[in-house]
Amino acid sequence: MIDKNSVICISDDAAALACGADDVAAAFEKAGFAVKRVSSWGMQWLEPMVDTGGIGYGPVAADDVAEIIAGKADRLYIGPIEEHPFIARQQRLTFARAGKTRPLSLSDYEASGGWAGLIKAKQIGPDAIIEMLIDSGLRGRGGAGFPAGIKWRTVAGGDGPQKYIVCNADEGDSATFADRMVMEGDPFMLIEGMAIAGHAVGADKGFVYLRSEYPHAIVKMNAAIKACAHLIAPFVMEVRVGAGAYVCGEETSLLNSLEGKRGEVRAKPPLPALEGLFGKPTVVNNVLTLAAVPWIMTQGGAAYAAYGMGRSKGTMPVQLAGNIKNGGLFEIAFGMTLGELVNDIGGGTASGRPVKAVQVGGPLGAYIAPDQFDLPFDYEAFTEANALIGHAGITVFDDSADMAAMARFAMEFCAVESCGKCTPCRLGSTRGMETLDRIIAGENIAENIELIRDLSEMMKYGSLCALGGFTPYPVMSAINHWPEEFGMPKP
């Protein structure tokens, strides 16, 4: 039996909404309960999840509400949410507020330590901020893993007075949703991170380049910026909405798009840090990179660097997706193995069939077979294994996956999304797709596989950006691990 006076918390994050959270909230309200719409805990397989004073139920449908109120919904009972192994095993620094606060409530944000990072940053000043960031070892969470502090130092040293902070919120990789969860669940944290960046490098204007596929995040970011404008002044911010081009997540393409141009990739150098938006020194950082900054400011660089392994410092919000039993957001220090993430935390496949492959790092990441599951989550270890951490999305496939079709899709995706500026990416991917079609049809298999290998080498070394340069990784890893699915003899 649930006490009439208890507050019911239900997420209004897009994943919860897509699973029917609004109907569940309405049913509780109809029954006379006060419902608080909060961010998501990230246990997405349990969405819509209902939090009744710390005790969770999920996945709940509107029809289940009466049963929960009567205290009879044992089959949906999760128990104390904080003690759930999926939550208890995490090290939540960036997602410390997840599930607990109302995304657009300034009072919730302040009460949970919000703005302390910005206040501290203003006290210690630009040089000390950058030093602290370098000490933290924070690396870009958008894919390339470049040290954030070094980037900020470069921008700080660039020619002023006009400089910009650009937040890359294009999050185009399949299996990634951590940026979305920050923007929908804790938007002030991202804004605080950007304001700190502005203070550190001497930029008074920030843009969030946000993909059009995230309508809820767009609404919340706009509302949040408006609500806290007085707190971040003289820094000003604006949301710019993308228009459905994956390649615009690449930073130079993104800058062209922000300038109102075709999102074609620019040749580097010049570095965006020195000649970025409208030719001015610009910090381009991923949402998660910027969102990690307030914690680092308040707790110190060394405290952040105490998490992680090797040169991969701090925590990573890992996203468990695809055919996985416990899908959602799992923030943990670098170093956990892929097998632990997929099997222990993720619980294996949702279908209950054996795991066949996982793809880490989105559409440009390699397919990895379970025999490599001892790989630790670490930038260098992944690079050595020809794999990619990228934005830390993990897609799990069960044994029904068709690896030849997935390899073909990788080429198709590259062909559809290529900005068209460089030939290896644009034509290589189209040729690759046609050649894989022939292989799948059983034509001259050995010869055509050789052709794919050559094409892959050309794309890897001849492409202007990682779209063309990394598409060969999913393709070749599929061919090398599962040759029999391409009509080749088993090794």
């Binding site: 299996a175 459905g244 996203q319």
Partner: protein, 120 residues
């Protein structure tokens, strides 16, 4: 870009006339504006009055069986509803996922997907 988004939101597409007007307004050539419009998947040059559904066809939704839904959805859609591919809606652990206007749908099954299309 914000102008193009506004025009598309208002009229459902970006016509030749609109391109000419925007070019004049921004002191650009028509070819330059046309180049921008044609680059992005979201912008349409032709009017489209059918209701549209965006179905995620990216890897994580494939792993959760979206390809098995395409057939029934296309049958339910016929010529009446437009089904467009989209590559990820950020709902990758609860796919197959779709979006109609600003509304998102998850855990689609054949039945749910066909019903969703039929009700558009």
């Amino acid at each position: 870009m914000p102008i193009l988004h506004d025009v598309q939101a208002e009229f459902g597409h970006i016509s030749e006339d609109a391109i000419r007007e925007i070019a004049g307004l921004l002191n650009l050539t028509r070819a330059e504006v046309y180049g921008v419009v044609s680059f992005y998947h979201d912008f349409r040059k032709e009017a489209e009055d059918r209701p549209a559904l965006k179905l995620c066809r990216a890897e994580a939704c494939k792993a959760r069986g979206v390809e098995q839904l395409v057939g029934v959805m296309e049958t339910a859609a016929g010529d009446r509803v437009k089904i467009e591919p989209v590559y990820c809606l950020g709902l990758c652990s609860v796919g197959p996922a779709a979006m109609v206007g600003g509304k998102v749908y998850a855990r689609l099954t054949k039945e749910k997907a066909a019903k969703l299309v039929a009700e558009l």
